[in-house]
């Protein structure tokens, strides 16, 4: 089965970008940009402002990718799945939540924060927002293999789990008091579709090779930057 990338969206310290606009992807350095509802969604979405930072970042990445693929508008729920790689997951939310527990023997534990202490909760938010009923899970790979999510997304299509997969990664910067090395802060998601012929506006054909590399139009990549370089023709 051939698999095509039909949309890309990201939020990194270098900015917010989309694949079909031919924005140039980079992780950048420093703080992630502030995410406003108006920049990401055309209609009112008051829940967005109430999400924890991790969920807001992940949902933004998914929203940008779906918009890039022309799949952000919907009327009926759709069998689109999501797999999101993360290293730290919702650790920052875990800390914020448990601090509400410690402060008063649990009497003031925040139910709102607790709902976001599962790394996959933002996938549920995305499913609700965009009507996605495919399989959805968060993956934690070893050593922060940052494009591992592509293999998982490609496999989901090969296994016939659903016809379209949104796959990517999402991580906040490590909490200041818990220094965990390595890894980029930000979110990047791709929309993957199976089919012999490339759909209109395809950003390229993607595969996973036996050496553990992603290939985009035949060019191997082991990182998001290399994948972006493969797309722009920079070798």
């Amino acid at each position: 089965m051939k698999i095509h990338v039909t949309g890309i969206g990201w939020v990194t310290a270098a900015g917010i970008g989309r694949g079909r606009r031919r924005d140039l992807f980079a992780w950048g350095t420093g703080e992630l940009p502030a995410l406003s509802r108006r920049e990401l969604f055309s209609d009112p979405y008051p829940r967005f402002g109430r999400l924890d930072d991790f969920s807001r970042l992940g949902l933004a990445g998914i929203a940008l990718a779906l918009a890039d693929a022309g799949l952000d508008a919907w009327q009926q729920k759709r069998p689109i799945g999501i797999v999101a790689e993360t290293r730290l997951g919702c650790l920052a939310t875990d800390i914020a939540y448990f601090d509400t527990v410690v402060s008063d023997g649990g009497a003031l534990a925040s139910p709102n924060l607790f709902a976001y202490t599962l790394s996959n909760t933002f996938l549920g938010e995305a499913a609700i927002r965009f009507g996605l009923t495919g399989p959805a899970f968060v993956a934690n790979s070893e050593g922060g293999r940052e494009i591992e999510c592509l293999r998982l997304g490609i496999d989901s299509l090969r296994y016939g789990d659903c016809p379209i997969m949104v796959t990517g990664r999402c991580d906040l910067a490590p909490p200041r008091n818990i220094p965990i090395p390595d890894g980029h802060a930000g979110a990047i998601f791709l929309v993957l579709v199976g089919g012999e012929e490339p759909p209109p506006g395809s950003c390229g054909e993607i595969a996973w090779d036996s050496r553990g590399f992603a290939t985009l139009d035949g060019v191997a990549a082991s990182s998001w930057e290399e994948l972006a370089a493969a797309r722009s023709g920079v070798r």
Binding site: G105, L118, T121, A136, N140, E142, G144, Y159
Partner: protein
């Protein structure tokens, strides 16, 4: 598609350190939900949980290390090249609790990859590993991923390990959500009022049939089908019409290539919350019509073991298929309307050929597995 079989299974629960002991006590209708002594519960809605007895912190300070030690101790030899799937929602969350209370910990242990490393150390598995986090359907999805990889020929062995702890972190959260039962939970009972938390671990070795035969491995059961789907409805509450669960089961039936009428029994998620159990009964009625398919939930005995639930329940399902018995739904007094004739406080006999196991979780995710008895060949 290649035939996927389960060759080895272990489980550690509040009712025992082995699958056999857990099964035997479950069948006797025993309950592992007891007053909590692990942390102070005076500020919480419930005072009980199903803790694994004598589960003390291990090396590095987490109880998860000890749980893994018991789950994997004496487990079958695992092929080193096996794929590795972990299913845990919160991993070594007890270490985060310690850190927030001022203790010094190794921060890398807050990452799930550390648990994967611990499993590798204990089993010698060298193949690619990943933690699957799909809330309380984590193990079910992990088993489905492992099975799909084998069925498609990507691998011929996969080890799935699932584990989660009873922690103040999770207990306080469910208490704040008012999702805990004030007493021991009563799945599918008309008077149920919430769930009881539990902890446990399970390990299952999946293999491609011909390899299992070639190596003379015991075939405990076949994994016929798997499916996962979302409700796209609410992040903590299930869709009342069971739409996501229905899709997940239909997908599992499609993978298995069987019709719904072939399902002989159900190991339900059955948390004991008003909405989950009602949602499941609604979904099963949609899927199976007026046919009274025997069903049970283990959570009245073992508590809700979160990400581990689907793995523990799959391991117990093997015993159900072997014996033709569905364990009692502990805590049941008066079945929820719609559950009469399906669910019982006594063990139920069923034909024991094909069992459906289902789980659902936060984020609106649902998972389904179809397991079948290994027929004499």
């Amino acid at each position: 598609m290649k035939d996927v079989v389960i060759c080895a299974a272990s489980a550690v629960t509040a009712l025992g350190d082995s699958l056999g002991e857990s099964w035997a006590r479950l069948l006797r209708g025993e309950c592992g939900i007891r007053p909590l002594e692990r942390f102070e519960t005076s500020g919480y809605f419930s005072k009980v949980a199903a803790c694994v007895p004598d589960l003390e912190p291990g090396r590095g300070g987490s109880r998860l290390t000890t749980l893994l030690e018991r789950t994997l101790g004496g487990f079958a030899e695992v092929p080193p090249e096996s794929l590795l799937f972990l299913a845990t929602t919160k991993g070594e969350i007890d270490l985060l609790e310690l850190e927030r209370r001022g203790a010094e910990i190794d921060p890398r242990r807050l990452l799930s990859e550390t648990v994967l490393g611990e499993i590798r150390r204990r089993t010698g598995v060298k193949g690619p590993g990943v933690n699957v986090n799909a809330a309380c359907a984590s193990a079910t999805l992990a088993l489905g991923r492992g099975a799909a990889a084998i069925a498609c020929g990507d691998a011929d062995a996969a080890l799935v390990v699932c584990c989660d702890l009873v922690s103040e972190f999770v207990f306080s959260g469910f208490s704040a959500l008012k999702a805990l039962s004030s007493d021991r939970c009563r799945p599918f009972d008309a008077g149920r009022d919430g769930l009881s938390l539990g902890e446990g671990g399970a390990a299952l070795l999946l293999m491609e049939r011909s390899r299992a035969d070639r190596e003379g491995r015991p075939v405990l059961c076949r994994l016929l089908g798997w499916g996962a789907a979302g409700d796209a409805h609410h992040i903590t509450a299930p869709a009342r019409d069971g739409c996501g669960l229905i899709l997940a089961v239909k997908r599992a039936l499609q993978v298995a290539g069987i019709e719904a009428q072939r399902v002989d029994g159900i190991s339900a998620h059955g948390t004991g919350t008003v909405f989950n159990d009602l949602m499941e009964l609604t979904a099963f009625r949609t899927l199976f019509g007026d046919r009274k398919v025997p069903l049970h939930s283990v959570k009245g005995a073992l508590g809700h073991t979160l990400g581990a639930a689907g793995g523990i329940e799959a391991a117990l399902a093997i015993r159900s298929l072997e014996s033709g018995l569905l364990p009692p739904t502990v805590g049941l007094r008066h079945p929820e309307p719609g559950g009469e004739g399906c669910v019982s406080a006594e063990a139920l006999t069923f034909p024991g050929r094909i069992l459906l196991s289902t789980n659902s979780g936060f984020g609106g995710i649902n998972g389904a597995l179809l397991l079948s008895r290994e027929e004499a060949r």
